[in-house]
Symmetry: C2
Subunit: 236 residues, 2 copies
């Protein structure tokens, strides 16, 4: 059997929101690479998939620095990409797990960019955090002719303002540490009353705020906090 690398999306957090395909592949891997936020720290992605892992799968946690220094990050991406290449060349069935969907705001794409044999790669898509948030909040992402923008709150303020003005629905990711600023932008745009915020959707710590006007500017938020804006949604 020739080697293959699977990039497996875990979905938003609840273990049973992974795809059937992802779960089946996890059961037959020789080795699984799991990203960990801090050196020696736990991997949330690993905790999601643990129940699906085969008995003989070796697990390797890899640490990606959150550093602003892109040279430092590139060294790590290059190292992990070479390690994945080597496993595949050795004929192994290799997995790399990634939170949410592998192709949206994921470290995985920096590895994909650097792999020597993309033809040996299969990417298993996953449920995005914002699809999970829309489901839990019973608030649609977009209907019919509407348009949806997915932006990170780390984007330029002018770009966020423009997107708020132009789209019917918006997903604002990476709110953590930026809530006061985003709340002010939503207020300026007249959108505070059609926005909601969720943290850790589908995980045991899930929280939802539907009245952002009443949320204090210094409200402590979990790392995975996202705002969903839908300008037109209402029950009939």
């Amino acid at each position: 059997m020739s080697g293959k690398l699977y990039a497996i999306s875990t979905g938003p957090g609840a273990a049973d929101l992974i795809t059937v395909r992802g779960a089946r592949i996890l059961g037959k891997l020789d080795v699984l690479y799991a990203p960990a936020g801090r050196k020696g720290g736990d991997s949330l992605a690993l905790s999601i998939v643990r129940e699906y892992l085969g008995e003989h799968t070796e697990v390797r946690c890899c640490h990606f620095p959150m550093s602003a220094d892109s040279a430092e990050k590139e060294v790590v991406w290059e190292e992990v990409a070479r390690a994945l290449d080597a496993e595949v060349q050795a004929g192994k069935q290799v997995g790399f797990i990634t939170l949410g969907d592998a192709m949206l705001f994921s470290t995985w794409v920096f590895l994909l960019q650097r792999l020597s044999h993309p033809e040996c790669v299969e990417i298993v898509p996953g449920v995005t955090s914002f699809a999970a948030i829309a489901a839990r909040a019973q608030t649609p992402l977009a209907m019919e002719q509407q348009s949806l923008a997915v932006i990170a709150c780390t984007a330029l303020e002018s770009d966020i303002r423009q997107a708020l003005a132009q789209h019917d629905s918006l997903v604002l990711m990476k709110v953590y540490g930026r809530f006061a600023r985003i709340k002010a932008l939503l207020d300026d745009a007249g959108l505070l009353d059609c926005a909601l915020m969720m943290a850790e959707a589908t995980l045991p710590g899930e929280q939802c705020w539907r009245q952002l006007r009443e949320v204090s500017d210094d409200q402590p938020l979990p790392y995975f906090s996202t705002i969903l804006v839908n300008k037109q949604w209402e029950r009939v």
Copy 2:
């Protein structure tokens, strides 16, 4: 046991791209409602989930008119919502399946708007068609500070032009019947060479075009055809 309504996202098309949760719920339903494109026609959503259905699950196909007449559509939404309400009130475990993700461009939200007991509803999110396309094409949706717009090609031309100018990545859905116009807009925006088109991603009829410049304006396309634009993606 009290009645419950599950809106179950099937994912993009391949049966094993449904979530583990969706598959498990399908196995325990009393009744499943499946949307069908044409009256008496087959339901693509039903063909995706058939293998997960319990032996005793009753299947009811419901036809939603594609008509431009919104009064006609509203009558059907109201009828189906009342039927779902009645099943739940009778204590049944009821499913409604929906292609892709239930909260994105789905008829499901028109039913959700009209249900009498949203507290009896659980929405199971799914893999969107565009996440599947990004995975199959090995082309990311967005990285780091980038922004993604998801728009329907039925939107106003001025809105499409604006989105093409402003976002790093774009998903253009509902290309069917509008390819020539969208190709011209992409060309005007200088984006023809960073766009790709996929039809029926993850289904047996999957097709991918990476050189849109060479695709003829009157190329016959399947109904589920989507264009993905990523202005910055390249291998290292």
